[in-house]
Subunit: 313 residues, 6 copies
Amino acid sequence: MKHALQIFACNASRGLAAEICSRLGIRPGRIEISRFSNDNLRVQIQENVRERDVYVVQSFTEPVSDHIMELLITLDALRSASAQRITAVIPYYSYARSDKKDAPRISITARLIADMLKTAGADRVLTMDLHADQVHGFFSVPVDHLTAIPTIAEHFRAHHELSNMVAVATDAGGAKRVGRFSERLGIPMAIIDKRRVNDTAVKHGEVVGEVRGRDVVIFEDEISTGATVLSSVDILKTAGARSAHVGAVHGVLCGPAVERLRNADLESIVVTNTVNRAEEKQLPNLATLTVAPLFAAAIERIHSGESVGVLFD
Amino acid sequence: MKHALQIFACNASRGLAAEICSRLGIRPGRIEISRFSNDNLRVQIQENVRERDVYVVQSFTEPVSDHIMELLITLDALRSASAQRITAVIPYYSYARSDKKDAPRISITARLIADMLKTAGADRVLTMDLHADQVHGFFSVPVDHLTAIPTIAEHFRAHHELSNMVAVATDAGGAKRVGRFSERLGIPMAIIDKRRVNDTAVKHGEVVGEVRGRDVVIFEDEISTGATVLSSVDILKTAGARSAHVGAVHGVLCGPAVERLRNADLESIVVTNTVNRAEEKQLPNLATLTVAPLFAAAIERIHSGESVGVLFD
Amino acid sequence: MKHALQIFACNASRGLAAEICSRLGIRPGRIEISRFSNDNLRVQIQENVRERDVYVVQSFTEPVSDHIMELLITLDALRSASAQRITAVIPYYSYARSDKKDAPRISITARLIADMLKTAGADRVLTMDLHADQVHGFFSVPVDHLTAIPTIAEHFRAHHELSNMVAVATDAGGAKRVGRFSERLGIPMAIIDKRRVNDTAVKHGEVVGEVRGRDVVIFEDEISTGATVLSSVDILKTAGARSAHVGAVHGVLCGPAVERLRNADLESIVVTNTVNRAEEKQLPNLATLTVAPLFAAAIERIHSGESVGVLFD
Amino acid sequence: MKHALQIFACNASRGLAAEICSRLGIRPGRIEISRFSNDNLRVQIQENVRERDVYVVQSFTEPVSDHIMELLITLDALRSASAQRITAVIPYYSYARSDKKDAPRISITARLIADMLKTAGADRVLTMDLHADQVHGFFSVPVDHLTAIPTIAEHFRAHHELSNMVAVATDAGGAKRVGRFSERLGIPMAIIDKRRVNDTAVKHGEVVGEVRGRDVVIFEDEISTGATVLSSVDILKTAGARSAHVGAVHGVLCGPAVERLRNADLESIVVTNTVNRAEEKQLPNLATLTVAPLFAAAIERIHSGESVGVLFD
Amino acid sequence: MKHALQIFACNASRGLAAEICSRLGIRPGRIEISRFSNDNLRVQIQENVRERDVYVVQSFTEPVSDHIMELLITLDALRSASAQRITAVIPYYSYARSDKKDAPRISITARLIADMLKTAGADRVLTMDLHADQVHGFFSVPVDHLTAIPTIAEHFRAHHELSNMVAVATDAGGAKRVGRFSERLGIPMAIIDKRRVNDTAVKHGEVVGEVRGRDVVIFEDEISTGATVLSSVDILKTAGARSAHVGAVHGVLCGPAVERLRNADLESIVVTNTVNRAEEKQLPNLATLTVAPLFAAAIERIHSGESVGVLFD
Amino acid sequence: MKHALQIFACNASRGLAAEICSRLGIRPGRIEISRFSNDNLRVQIQENVRERDVYVVQSFTEPVSDHIMELLITLDALRSASAQRITAVIPYYSYARSDKKDAPRISITARLIADMLKTAGADRVLTMDLHADQVHGFFSVPVDHLTAIPTIAEHFRAHHELSNMVAVATDAGGAKRVGRFSERLGIPMAIIDKRRVNDTAVKHGEVVGEVRGRDVVIFEDEISTGATVLSSVDILKTAGARSAHVGAVHGVLCGPAVERLRNADLESIVVTNTVNRAEEKQLPNLATLTVAPLFAAAIERIHSGESVGVLFD
């Protein structure tokens, strides 16, 4: 019984956790998350976790603050309940985008949350496609950093003719990620170079690289409101692109995103299920790939002390 | 300019902070709290804080998770912006109620939040009437713990005839607080003793002490939904109380509270402004006492190195 | 052999530790505690503890400072001797009473000692009936917090007629504990409300609740000099109590306690053996209940990763 | 005298530190760095630093390990000599390039060094143009992160005709930096997209963007052996570039760099003096811009509590 | 008022602290150290210490555990009372003798206490003649390490004819200290080489070096029971010494020490007042040199940011 | 497979690690240490270490800074690769000599390195013959401190006639070590007492103890340049010694050491292989004893949870 594997889900990731558990042939741990009348959260672990190897799955989706607090309180409850080792499994680590000081006197919140996870009791972190690879270094606990880029690339290879395709980064910061994606598919890349003209105006982005007559795949780590995707499609079409697809790991699709994407001039949209979404049926050209097999395999390997890296060889 | 005093307000306490600043003759620091499309919070301190002695005011009111995250991110932004000393001013520390393990495998979240405040950069904490005095000991940074009990007691002395009054605790856990309140007014006390009869039923509370024919003052640290107040009035009236008042430091008044209290058989309700509320006009018998003078005096004394304790001598 | 269970006793708790070991069918670990000529303590662990699961039993009884230092030095010796996990077993954590700032510029020493236990090497703490439940939150390591209240309550149920009994708290701060005790026995409760009249005089306490003609049980977490018990018996008898008993978890019984209690108007005195006492034979109406079975069961469950909470279901 | 400003230089940055001191009108602090016969380093601070605001200047140049150890030992000596505040000034933080896990089981050494600086006693860090902006988040102490990009951009504006110029990133990872540089000059950008064809061969990079007939400026954070610059010039010339310049913040110029660059088909080379180099006279088309004014201004502002950010408005 | 200097004394060092204060022209801070009936200590700082530069004087003399606990609790009280900086002044750090593992599974308690001082709130330590110089490195806070060796050496120079004198170490471990003492006086040294012959017997020590016909000065860091001094005098006389003196920094003189030394064949005994002793009048040939001037000067210099090292130039 | 033992060698100790592995019947772990063009080190662990019990062997030999950085980076790589427990095996911990403040404003670097090892991820340390026993206390992780003194003593017993031998310490600081060595061989000891005569001259050392007509063995913890050995031989011969040997644990033999020792008037030189040396063939009278059996036995016992101390009983 000792050191046995247990997986708990917080509210943002019940579906994904259930799928992971199903693949591993275990049932999710019993946990109750409730709210006091003064809006304080309360978490109770409802089964013995002493000396267990425990994993808590929680994506940082809307409402983000509640979901982070749920996770932190759950970690603390597990620690004081004497779990042997606690891994925070965060398929979508939203604050990874707050990873640098691009304005004075702001917080590098991706680092702050990393520190708070440790304060709350996380011994390890398992996550996927952080906004920048460097965010890995924000954690002082060991991190296993999975990627769904191969999964999405294989989807494109299986469903589309690649010979006329070009992968596009929506800004210079995404060039590296798109380089990795396009290299895997053996297709060229382009980037949209956006810049400020003066204090009040942002110049319409220029396409760096060749897209005329090509089928473009906009590739991102996440799609939130869809605004960037829309303006990018516009720029690319203006620059002569024949058709447009979009691929992203984290399909946040918040606010007006579904509405926007439904009306956009897009052949297909591909995301994964790191984020639970209810509205996706309204997007007929949306494909949601599951990352549960990846997470299940990683958890099994972490638990048994086998290499996780080999999953990506 | 060095070591100058600066006060910032997060969203939960803009009103109280403005009042504190006004008393101190300074303007609140400029700060912008916004939200990215993926629901991540973003805080920017909009003026130089290097080497300043900074205070951030934020009560943990609904939405609690957002307000806690706002405070943590603000603290982190201030620290990395090189503030000289940072004091988290938390008039209402809601999680103080999660101060013990009264069920298996829960989190003592009051301690967790205390640790997270330190992780985020708080050098000190200034707070008021924590649910239990012991919560003071959860912090590893110095805490100044103010109390509004004298303020509320003086209000009763000024507005009511005390000779027939009895202060009442709504359960055994509140006896100590009510003892302190009643001692200050020189009136007797009673407590309502609630207990489980068996697994499914909670016995209607017994009044321990004498309330027949008396004017009772139910005294609490906080009123949230008003349910406890209502059932207590009921028990006390059944036990022969002539009239009922209620006093509490933190007037959370969430959910159905205003509706309930308006219809309750209560002579008067007294709270402070540690919590901002919009609905209070609907409660004609509500008096809201301001704690701004106390906080202003405490901040001034912390800043200048004078004793804070003398405020309560 | 690895991860095997080992129990060591420091000087304050050799008897209790021997009883715990006996129940678990193991012999106490060999340890030598001595004193250099300059009054420095020296602790030597006299058998191999590498990779063992080690428990050190030590109550904070007189001389408290020596007993705390003994424990700290023992923890440090075990850590540097490569014990796999170290649990400080502290049946009586005396400093739990220093749990709040009830005067300016004092130390919340219960928190300080909690931090020092961690500094010295404790990975966990196992303790019993802390003065306030909140003290649990002072520890940053996992704590198992046992209670002897059911044990003492069962003793009263077995030996006394309950129908005329009332449980009494000696001050408002103890109301919660007495509530728990009286609820378990299904008897009413009362509290003694003591307060200052002015700067120089403390008013003789008032009894809140009904004790006239009843058999009262004063219930406390600890009895030290017996002064509070004596004055409480006096107040209760004056208020008409028919007979008086006293129950407490920690029978510290220091200074004039034995003398006082022998001469007091008390039917019976019930404590546990969290504190070793030599003088108890002189108290004919004293019953000392053993907590060794509780500690033995808890240690066994911590060691094997089973739930400790179920001991109290 | 208290809190007075003092600047010390370790061996890698004596020249730059002297220039900074000269601008601030102070003399460098006396420090002796020597070596024991067993190759251990020894650092002695040779003047009183109690309660001083101390800055230690040291770039991580060859021999890097010695220079890092020198800095760590100096920080420790200053701390134990009771300096009031210690800022590690690291113009060239070489390990910033080890900022992610791009291979299994490697160290994110940029984070490790950040932690070691704190362990050794650094209260703050002042650095320049870290390889990735995210490395800022590796530090748990406040960091002021200067940039020489405006300085280098102004040099190009002053000395070259911009109308036909294109800024080029040597790989996708540098796109963001080049975007910033080109935006400041109002010129277009391009990137060289290098990728593996198979396990043994790296495909000759493709130029993404338009360079035919243009004057290209390769822009990098650092030039070490010059290999990347050389191969990039080759690719760009093949793609039709008319002329080539190179700009970089950190002119490491190690190994065969000087030789290579002298023979390369380059109009001009621009670096700063974050790295001390002796060989630069051999590069007639090299311009070395001084960053001493930036560091001097930043130190002055950190010392006096004024905004550092305004230096870049 | 801010950052003003305040000195508090705990019970072991009230006399020395008063002398230090007198030299500095300030009065000792008001502090109350008392004991609860359960033998718990209670410390209350009885004046405002916010933003003060505070020093607490306490030697680790008998009862050592109580004196250490007093100091730790005082440090904690000062920290939570918002002292600006806290220096633990420990003239005699008794546990410095527990500085190594000379037996299996013991504690290096000198390191443990150093860590606990930091845990309790000490920002700095000021101490004198630690048993080994290396103990300095056990502290993670800055330490000023004074020495009374020059003071004692000057006493010998002033009162004795040096030409025939030899300084003697009572074992090999003390050779370095005696080397320093004898070098200052310009006299030769000798050491007593004690060793085990077999498991049960310790061989009578051999004198290494020349003492025949000489006046020997046994020099130690501390004298506790006097046993070592006595046996050393015996050995030296047997080896032909003409007369014997003894000098030591810490005159612990516990247990039978006074009785022994009075009857010993000693010309003179010289110690300092790092330890308070009542019995010294019974030793007519004892000279107690005061270290108050050294401590006063060190505190003044630490407070004002001047070099402490120059006191020993 | 879990918790299996793995041993890695960094560059300074490949030979010794291979010998240790050979004795344990395992092969050394695969690790690649390389250098980027900017002189940054890069370490890659080339096999899975999850949940393994890992030992890294690295002596701090020339180039010391590189070897320390190699070890720190390796520890960090192992930690983030999820090793279960990491032991830094440092046969020669060169900085142990920087163990005290014998000059103002220097670093106690032995403590700094101890802290950095922990920061980098070492859970334990295994080392040999630290310059002073107290250095053990600088580490906050458990340390196993081996000694080669018995090994060297046995060598002398086996190869030399002891009856006329005297062990000699080259200064007072080494007296304790020599005492231990000579006691094991049952021979007398002497020390060389060196001291400053005035500010500019160091007096030629005096021999304390009897060496005339004896065979002396100079015993040290390390021999670096051989200067001390040479001057000591000179002093001892002048004082009448018949022949001279030298024994030391750490045969650093750097700079002119081999040349010097070859020409010195020495019968024999005995060191161990904690330091790898190439030049030793040039010293015909050098015997290098292997410590591999000791390290192998210690590692095996640490891994399996058996006592290491018994190796020295």
